[in-house]
């Protein structure tokens, strides 16, 4: 079973205590943006076989949303971090780089 540590309450939560919320770091563009940008935000998704960033909610715990860095090919978890950010923290990126050199995901590397 997939387990993720909630960055708020510190609990190592089973996936049955969590709710998966899809891709993280979606960028919502403001007034004047193009149809392409809206389509990207609304429908187009990163779907990598490898490093992936996701939203999760500690549904049967503290109830808060957080973000996780995970490998979709091996189910390895690189780390979790609070949702109040627009990009993965450097510490998480370094941890991924140590294990998956040369990784890229969307605009991040």
């Amino acid at each position: 079973m997939l387990t993720l540590q909630c960055p708020y309450c510190g609990v190592q939560a089973d996936e049955t205590d969590l709710h998966a919320g899809g891709q993280a770091h979606l960028k919502r563009h403001g007034p004047g943006s193009s149809d392409d940008q809206f389509e990207d935000y609304m429908f187009v998704r990163e779907n990598p076989k490898g490093v992936h960033f996701e939203r999760w909610r500690h549904a049967y715990g503290c109830g808060k949303w957080f973000l996780a860095a995970r490998c979709t090919a091996t189910l390895e978890v690189f780390g979790t971090y609070p949702a109040q950010t627009t990009e993965p923290p450097q510490e998480i990126r370094d941890r991924i780089s140590a294990k998956r050199p040369g990784w890229t995901w969307g605009d991040f590397a």
């Binding site: 997939l2 779907n47 996701e54 995970r70 979709t72 091996t74 189910l75």
Partner: protein
């Protein structure tokens, strides 16, 4: 190709079965093909077959990174039905169902199509309304389905428990012409027919790059060397996102694991397919006697072909409530497949931003039933540049808001 027939069996019986030949060839790739199809599962092989049969295009290679039919074609629960709500879905799924009826004769290969009938149970008031609506829609679409009451459900499936502890059975949507088929035979039959037309089915040949020149595809790099092509069809289900990345575009698709399991074989006890969408469980009995059970998908992206165990627990719990007799069955095997799910739960059969590259994906949790229809439509799209069956299934429909929303009608079980 030697035809299979009762006469051939008798002839071989008199000579120790020495005369059987291999069902398909195992060739080395040529330097160039008119069309390359990536993915030798049901959909890829069907696409190649109808390219040859309907359009005379036979200089075709079908590339497969693993083995023939080893992905979702060999991992599904073999259910065939066409009781969809929206017109474009009904058209392509009904085309597919009707092609299944004559597939064994067309391919000269027994795919064991068994039109035993499919019931989708209504267990809430919402489902009653939903399925009655689908029955009316199907009547207008020329798809034969009907709403049936609980007594009829019990008559069709005596082992069902109508008064379950959580959700009583209130009726169902019945498609008498739905059923099951032998999934491996579908892939093998198409592969044999493709090979017979001179096409190359090349296994253990993984595509590693898609070569483009001036916005147009010119070929692919593979683990068996570079191969040129004029047109490229990507028919790879769960790995569609990976292939799209190689071709330089993105798809509105996410890949998740879907699980299924089978029980030990028992005597015949159920001659219909039953799907219970509210409680997440569906079941049929195979010709070997195993109860074939479909489970749920994980909520997160996954390429590992194995899912989370609690979904098995949920599915089995639901089935024990609906079919109390299965409580004492032992389960033999459990497995997962990677399904490609779109935002509206409808497939994508489409041109792409790269000239000459076509994509057939997004069948999500219900691709097996669509194999012949999908191949028929995709072949027409690739040969002529357009097909009436694929018109609505463009990958660009999302930006225009032209969804084919089947998430209510088909989001759970297949």
């Amino acid at each position: 190709m030697k035809r299979y027939s009762a006469f051939a069996i008798a002839r071989e019986a008199f000579r120790q079965h020495q005369g059987w030949t291999r069902a398909w060839a195992n060739p080395a790739p040529r330097a160039k093909y008119d069309v390359i199809i990536v993915g030798a599962g049901g959909h890829g092989l069907a696409t190649a077959y109808y390219l040859g049969r309907n359009f005379g295009i036979t200089n075709v290679a079908i590339l497969e990174k693993g083995w023939l039919g080893g992905g979702n074609t060999g991992r599904n629960t073999t259910i065939i039905r066409s009781n969809y709500l929206q017109d474009p879905s009904a058209a392509i799924y009904e085309k597919s169902r009707s092609l299944y009826e004559t597939m064994s004769q067309d391919l000269n290969y027994n795919v064991m199509f068994s039109p035993r009938g499919v019931i989708m149970l209504a267990q809430t008031q919402h489902e009653i309304r939903g399925y009655k609506r689908t029955a009316h829609a199907n009547a207008l679409q020329g798809v034969k389905t009907e709403w049936i009451g609980p007594e009829k459900v019990k008559e069709l499936c005596p082992i069902i428990n109508l008064d379950g502890p959580r959700y009583p059975v209130l009726g169902g949507l019945w498609q008498a012409r739905g059923g099951t088929a032998r999934h491996d035979a579908v892939a093998w039959g198409y592969a044999r027919a493709c090979s017979d037309m001179g096409m190359h089915v090349i296994q253990q040949c993984e595509v590693t790059a898609i070569r483009r020149e001036g916005g147009r595809v010119v070929g692919v790099d593979t683990t068996k060397g570079a191969i040129d092509c004029d047109k490229l069809g990507l028919v790879v289900a769960g790995h569609s996102g990976v292939m799209a990345q190689m071709a330089g575009f993105r798809l509105p698709i996410e890949s998740v694991a879907l699980q299924a399991l089978v029980s030990e074989p028992i005597k015949p006890c159920m001659d219909v397919v039953v799907m219970a969408n509210t409680v997440h469980g569906y079941m049929s009995q195979s010709d070997k006697g195993e109860m074939v059970i479909g489970g749920g998908t994980d909520g997160y992206n996954n390429y590992t072909q194995r899912g989370s165990f609690h979904h098995i627990e949920e599915t089995v719990r639901a089935l024990i409530e609906t079919f109390p007799m299965v409580a004492r069955l032992k389960m033999l095997r459990q497995w997962g497949g990677i399904v490609d799910v779109t935002g509206d739960r409808s497939p994508i059969l489409s041109k792409t931003p790269v000239d000459g590259v076509f994509v057939n994906c997004g069948w999500g949790t219900g691709g097996f039933k669509a194999i012949p229809g999908s191949g028929w439509a995709m072949a027409e799209l690739m040969a002529k540049g357009a097909s009436p069956l694929t018109e609505e299934f463009s990958m660009f429909r999302f930006r225009e808001g032209k969804f084919i929303d089947e998430s209510v009608a088909a989001g759970v079980a297949h």
